[in-house]
Amino acid sequence: MIDNPYVPLLFFMTLGLLFAAGSVGAGQLIGPKKANAAKAMPYECGLQPSPKAEEGGRVPIKYYLTAMLFIIFDVESLFLFPFAVAFNQLGLFALVEMVLFVITVFVAYAYVWRRGGLNWD
């Protein structure tokens, strides 16, 4: 009766959203509110908090590298999903193609490994 299978998904997401937003909103209404200067400061184990860096501060470059590598492998799995689903219909051709593709990815992977891109320190 429902043509679009995403409609129930939308129902469910709305329920979740209503619950989360509603309870967070209720949390704002209920409960004492006693502000003081220390409470408004960031928590740093009771010490004076380090000043906030300009423009959000710098973060270790490793996280950036991880994000880049993630893109590579995520796109790779993006190719693997349709390949796996349609494997029955594609035949030997797709299998050979995928082997070549994975070999290409492994070349890049070996390069990144040798250059120390996967070492955390």
Partner: protein, 198 residues
């Protein structure tokens, strides 16, 4: 200074029911802040172990961040250098919050009668329960927690009831006879002229 809507209810059966639920939930789920200052902290950790098991009261979730904590157990002597930190952590805890002063050093300076130690943590933060001992046994800490639940948490008055309770306490204090005018509780005369250390 502000209160939530639950404290703006008129005094009556509704407010008492809310008080009941609030008291019960705070009593049943009181998360201590991860915070130990000295040797008493070892006894505090023992309370988490199998022999004493603070988890029975739903309190084993020690909260690393004071934002999520309800109870501060000042376990150990507070040095002058540590005092601002203790105060900061206490201030950053979200209300409502309670404090147990664990051990004689935290309560009064104890054996450290010197310039380096705060002579009682109540100089810097309000204390709900003083727990004697050097260090107190884990059973004593459990007793302090149960007493705290009983006296301060379970039936904590809210809103109009809180104001009424404060007023009653004020009136009782005003009507009380000063200590000097009260009759002596025991006889000091019998000791006059005796060397008590002999």
């Amino acid at each position: 200074m502000g209160y939530g809507i639950e404290e703006k209810l008129p005094s009556g059966i509704l407010l008492s029911s809310v008080e009941e639920i609030v008291g019960l939930s705070h009593k049943s789920s009181m998360w201590p802040v991860t915070f130990g200052l000295a040797c008493c902290a070892i006894e505090m950790m023992a309370v988490g172990g199998p022999h004493y098991d603070i988890a029975r009261f739903g309190m084993e979730r020690f909260s690393a961040s004071p934002r999520q904590a309800d109870l501060m157990i000042v376990a150990g002597r507070v040095s002058q250098k540590m005092a601002p930190v203790v105060r900061q952590v206490y201030d950053q805890m979200a209300n409502p919050k309670w404090v147990i002063s664990m051990g004689v050093c935290a309560s009064s300076g104890g054996m450290f009668n010197n310039y380096a130690i705060v002579q009682g943590v109540d100089h810097i933060i309000p204390v709900d329960i003083y727990l004697p001992g050097c260090p107190p046994r884990p059973e004593m800490l459990l007793n302090a927690i149960v007493q705290l639940h009983k006296e301060k948490v379970r039936h904590r008055p809210l809103g109009a009831n809180r104001a009424a309770a404060a007023k009653r306490a004020e009136e009782a204090a005003m009507a009380a006879v000063p200590t000097q005018l009260q009759p002596a509780t025991h006889d000091h005369g019998g000791y006059v002229g005796k060397n008590l250390l002999a």
